[in-house]
Point group: C3
């Protein structure tokens, strides 16, 4: 189980580095900017989690293997994407894997550290989404993550479900698999059928547009 | 006294979560984005303070009550603001309470940790204003906080005054109340009479506009 | 040697505070915004390094002398730049000093903490460039640092060279001087002759512009 989680963790790292590298490409950054944005996207969520929980040093200092995976994924993306047009929608499905994996890993790590379910849910979501938020801030994109599509909400559902399953004392490996798949399915369903939560529209804005 | 400070702390948390939720509303985020931006605004300043001072874990992990206050305030804002048009100017007055409370709490906390007045002033201002700065970065607003209106400067005055009063060995509760009210009054006066510090205009810019 | 490094460190702090203050000026911030942006630019890289490595508290809390240098440099810039038009290109050469000094200091500090060359290279670059990145995010500039000009790449070359020289067991002071000058020369050469790395252009973008 731990072995599978570790492999998924590296997959998530590579996938997020890839999305960061592509965001850098859209902003016409050079190879170095591509690697930096790739690493920031891959490490941002977990770094913020470790800082907030007071883990020192952060995970990618303790184990440099993450650094190599993210760097190679970013450089690989740089080299390949110059030649082949990346399929935009396929990428979003791959990104969903990173979201699901990082949410579950963040939850599990935090529950081991703090034994507190509400903190673990918050940290699961933080690990899952903050890499992408920092990527969007640095590449000056509009923050899509907090907008309409069910992205962070999928992460929240997965983390909350995992809290419930842990609470029910189900076997750990079963709980993790179910929560991981649920997060993935919610996110992919949202992409596939364009699902969205109601957005928050201020009354004043609505009246402005009415006039 | 500590009791009053704690209540004010929760009030400040709720007020900042409210301003974060409204910023999310202006950017048409969904309920989850509203909660995230509310929490980030409410916790941003104190989290940065705790990280820089090396307090671990940060305050809202040690005491989850802040998490509940911020989340409920953000959700409440989401529900209410869909129905009632929030009075923009009234909100800025309420926000001033958060600014004053967080500045004083940040100063007091830091002076207890470090016994260093200049660090405590810097951390008071950090606690007071950085939540709002992160909110503006994430909602892609122009950073009003660092612009004309006396906002961060009110926080600086309050923290510096508290340093002076502590140094004069006045009773702690009196010092805190005076500094709190002074910060609040400076900020509200700036709002009421449109006060501003001279802005920093580069010579080159001025010449460009002259031609 | 350590004495020289310490003086260079303060020079780098002052120089980066100056560039932060000028960025604040371009955005017409008030004196307080100028000081905040100056300090954030001067401390951003080193603060992120200390947080990631788990050094507590961060360097400018342990030694308030940095705080004074950055504040005075920002205020001095505010006062002088209102009167004299700052020579834009001269500033970029001065900024190159900050980049070179902070890269070397970040590397040296990290190698003493972790004895790991790849971490030290990453932290050297982080110390050198992240202050500028945070400055650009807060002043809502396009992130030039990650774009075309060889900026972060100069930092990477300097840190990698220092790793090599340390590995060859050359005298410490010689290694540091050579790596410092190399970083400086690469950056200045890039400025002087407009050198740049190939940018990462997505295939889809290229086709869009072709049509």
């Amino acid at each position: 189980m731990d072995h599978l989680i570790h492999i998924l963790d590296l997959v998530g790292t590579g996938v997020f580095a890839l999305t960061g590298a592509l965001a850098a490409g859209r902003k016409r950054m050079d190879i170095f900017g591509v690697v930096v944005l790739g690493c920031v996207t891959a490490f941002g969520g977990g770094t913020l989690r470790d800082l907030i929980l007071g883990i020192r040093p952060v995970f990618w200092i303790s184990n440099t293997c993450y650094l190599w995976v993210a760097t190679l994924a970013a450089i690989g993306t740089y080299l390949l994407a110059r030649r082949y047009r990346p399929p935009a929608i396929g990428l979003m499905y791959i990104d969903a894997i990173g979201l699901a994996v990082f949410t579950i890993i963040g939850f599990q790590f935090t529950i081991n550290q703090t034994q507190n379910y509400s903190i673990a849910i918050v940290m699961g979501v933080t690990t899952g989404v903050f890499g992408g938020i920092i990527r969007d801030v640095l590449s000056a994109e509009v923050l899509l993550i907090l907008r309409r599509e069910i992205y962070a909400s999928a992460s929240l559902c997965g983390a909350a479900l995992l809290a419930l399953l842990f609470n029910l004392q189900l076997p750990r490996s079963l709980s993790v698999s179910v929560a991981l798949l649920t997060t993935l399915i919610i996110r992919i369903a949202a992409l596939r059928w364009n699902l969205a939560l109601p957005i928050f529209q201020l009354k004043s804005n609505r009246e402005e547009t009415r006039n």
